[in-house]
Amino acid sequence: MTRTVRVGFIPLMDAALLVVAQREGFAEEEGLALDLVRDVSWANLRDKLALGFLDAAHMLAPAAVAASLGLGQLKVPLLAPVALNLNGNAITVSLALQEALAEAATGDLADPVVTAAALKLVVDRRKAAGREQPTFGHVFPFSSHHYQLRAWMRAGGVDPDRDVNLVVLPPPYMARSLASGLIDGFCVGAPWNSLAVAEGHGRILHTGTDIVDPCVEKVLAVRLGLDANEPDTVERLARAVAASAHWAADPVNLAQLSAILAAEDAVGLPATLARAILTGELRTGTGTRVGPHYLRLSPDALPPWPDYADWIMRQMVEAGQLPRIGDSLASARAVFALERYVKATGEILEAGPARPRGIGG
């Protein structure tokens, strides 16, 4: 019997596996009719999921933890039976900041420690000249984007709370805010960095993986109650996502995948740009970077490892969002439902998760 599942998502490249599950019939094969609902804010997805307007949602992993711990908002215990990707972020800066950093840098601009140190010089110079602090945008208080910016800055001696303004800015407004000089840079997920570069407003300075690799990013979240009452439905969802990942990982399907995501009711971007992002070919504005791990949608990105909670909570404490890790760690780890994933997919996980490397690890 077909079970209709309402799944909310934000139009981003890392919603790919949900879109594929619907378009390519993997959800249908599991007896699920996926009703994909596009939304505009992470707050909406959280609240609609909490109140039952959605059965599942594309969600920032840190936001799933925050919701479960009741940080900042409606406390709603969530569960992630499967992750949707790893990585996919980038730090994009204005042309003016790129030039200022290049000028102040002593070393290779590809090195985040070098650029962070250059940022510190820029911060100091602006302060001495009585100018405003640099402002950087990100997507949500509880997001790897926010944490990656902070880790990058700290590596150069920049105090993320005192030396710069870190603000949430909706991705659709980021490129124009960069162009108008309202912000100096931002950290956001694909395709927004590439779009800003394509429009001529920004330069990609670093990928998220330059800061922390691999980095937990989005998960598919459901209410604890759904998992308790309908574990079978949750497992079918996880399997549909896994099947999508296998399909998406096959190079033979790249063109089709690009076309699917290019559609206006999916992510909505030129198919050629989608394809470039999927293959990790990034036009930075000063050249092209090739990194196949820029956005990982492959099957090995899917297991929801409880260890992700450890990294997330460390970031929350550093960001002043949580006084200390303490007893909450167990609840945070419980969000990542590895057992449900293994039961659903029958996968044999030989090794544990890769330990995140980098200055933000």
Binding site: A43, P141, P170, S177
Partner: protein
């Protein structure tokens, strides 16, 4: 003998209730915003500030220092407002989402209506609930108005296309209006299609056959 109003504790409470509730509305839809503002003013709230969705929203909200922020769910800027839950340099007075988080019926009604509210921490439930109720009812009223308008537009468009099809048939076959209408209706019944669909087909065909 009745206690004197305006002195002592009773007076203090009365004075507190007098203090205006500053309400910020973030809604890009100007018609809906006007409907909401009208409702709030009728209820006695005259300290209402409208902030547009775009740049620098957080800074402007902090500068206005509201007691309640009403935001439509279609606004991506909801995530901007989420920063207000934590005190920081930028956000000196933290907010909560609804005064009483256990009031899930209220929250559900609000989400269903397409509106959310952020309330400065500590504001009493009695002051906020009427405001939220008003927001929910006005948002719902707007949604109904919008539906009615869409229905009316669609009916008008359908009538126009049927009129055009009738005119085409009348000219082409030298028949009267009633007969033309009858032909369209018969075709609709035979093909199990809507009258407007058949009419559209006639209009399209006529264009192609010009």
């Amino acid at each position: 003998m009745a206690p004197k109003i305006g002195t002592g504790q009773a007076g203090h409470r009365a004075a507190e209730m007098e203090r205006r509730t500053r309400i910020v509305i973030v809604d890009q839809n100007s018609v809906r915003r006007a409907i909401l503002e009208e409702g709030l003013r009728e209820a006695g709230h005259d300290d209402i500030v409208h902030l547009s969705d775009t740049e620098n929203l957080l800074q402007r909200v902090v500068a206005v220092d509201p007691d309640v922020i009403v935001v439509d769910l279609e606004s991506p800027s909801r995530d901007v407002l989420e920063q207000m839950f934590q005190m920081s340099r930028a956000v000196p007075r933290p907010v909560a989402m609804f005064v009483d988080q256990s009031d899930t019926a209220m929250i559900k009604a609000a989400i269903d209506a397409g509106v959310s509210a952020y309330v400065v921490d500590g504001l009493r439930k009695e002051r906020v609930k009427p405001i939220l109720d008003m927001c929910v009812s006005r948002f719902n009223a707007f949604a109904r108005l919008k539906d009615e308008l869409e229905q009316a537009k669609s009916q008008l468009a359908e009538r126009k296309i049927i009129d055009r099809a009738k005119a085409i048939l009348m000219r082409a076959k030298g028949i009267g209006e009633d007969e033309a209408y009858g032909l369209l209706r018969k075709a609709a019944m035979n093909e199990k299609k809507k009258l407007s669909e058949i009419a559209q087909a006639v209009v399209t065909a006529a264009e192609l056959l010009k």
